[in-house]
């Protein structure tokens, strides 16, 4: 009894959510990635050739 009551309440809440199309949110995700691409060291490589976790290696190469 309590269970179905809460379930229905929950569904009512969820039914009232405003939703966006996948095309819209996908566009936002693409834009977010593009905007932050330059500072994403795992994608674009270290900024000013400086990543503390890569230092050791570059030192040993030098």
């Amino acid at each position: 009894m309590e269970n179905i009551k809460t379930t229905t309440e929950q569904l009512r809440t969820e039914a009232n959510i405003q939703r966006k199309k996948v095309s819209e949110v996908a566009k936002d995700l693409v834009e977010f990635c593009e905007k932050n691409k330059a500072t994403d060291m795992l994608v674009s490589g270290p900024l000013d050739a400086h990543n503390p976790f890569q230092e050791k290696k570059s030192c040993s190469v030098l």
Binding site: A15, I17, K20, A26, D40, L42
Partner: protein, 370 residues
Amino acid sequence: MSSAAGESSSSSKVPENSGSAAAAATGSEYLEQLANEAEELRKKLDAERHKLNDIPIQQAAERLDVMGALGVKQRRILKGHVGKVLCMDWSLDKRHIVSSSQDGKVIVWDGFTTNKEHALTMPTTWVMACAFSPSSQMIACGGLDNKCSVVPLSFEDDIIQKKRQVATHTSYMSCCTFLRSDNLILTGSGDSTCAIWDVESGQLIQNFHGHTGDVFAIDVPKCDTGNTFISAGADKHSLVWDIRSGQCVQSFEGHEADINTVRFHPNGDAFATGSDDATCRLFDLRADRQVCVYEKESILFPVNGVDFSLSGRILFAGYGDYRVGVWDSLKCVRHSVLYGHENRISCLRTSPDGTAVCSASWDCTIRIWA
């Protein structure tokens, strides 16, 4: 008290019986009404969500260049645990790491030098969760003891003596994270609830009921301006919660088995999950639905840890087959694989500034990739 109630019910036996029969009738009618409404709402929700799925995300990402070679490889290996490493977390200083293992050990590492700065032995084995506080001056941990304990970090004395219990669940604690400050902890548990606790007083601030199975993972958005968090677990659902009201505000389905891990996209509007069904999935809060599945026929093992690179372009996934998969989150293809671990990966996290990704494994090691 009970005899008085018995008396009154026997003295008014006839009217009460008929009354309760009527109540039962309306009760069952009401129940049926509710069930019908729930069914209608479910159909409506499915239809709505389906209607919004106008194009696949890959199509929106078509104009993007394919990611080139990344140069990401193993840079550090942290050795010291003698049991399976079950969890790890980064300090916000982007340098220190806390890890916990099946043999009851909790270790704080300097990720740059690989030195161990603190090593604690907990009274129970299977320390399934550990977390660094935002100030980096405290850690939280727990697991099969059903508890979340905090330990302040200092080099002065035996810090284990300063250990304090903050939270208690009725089953194991599977995950924990500090919430915005050193004063609040969010926990998830095998008792199928999540809860927020006051660190100082150990008081329960809010609990979250809604999952129908063990909670395995929680996450709070990085740009934490809203008042939400997500949780996921054995019921295959990811739930979004309102922290203030304790209400579940959104529910996401799609996975075909336990969800082991969940992480917000850096934009705070989407999140990724990893599951025993060998897939990772991307869900978007604004679309209120799944937007992508990251899967391959050749991948058969569970995903135990997922996290994004700083821009969200890469989704890293740690698998039960010892490998880290590097997925292009937008083109939805696997870009590459990182090899190194010699047993299943249990946990994976990108460093707070996105310089590196760290994985913990049942091979007793923690590895840093950059």
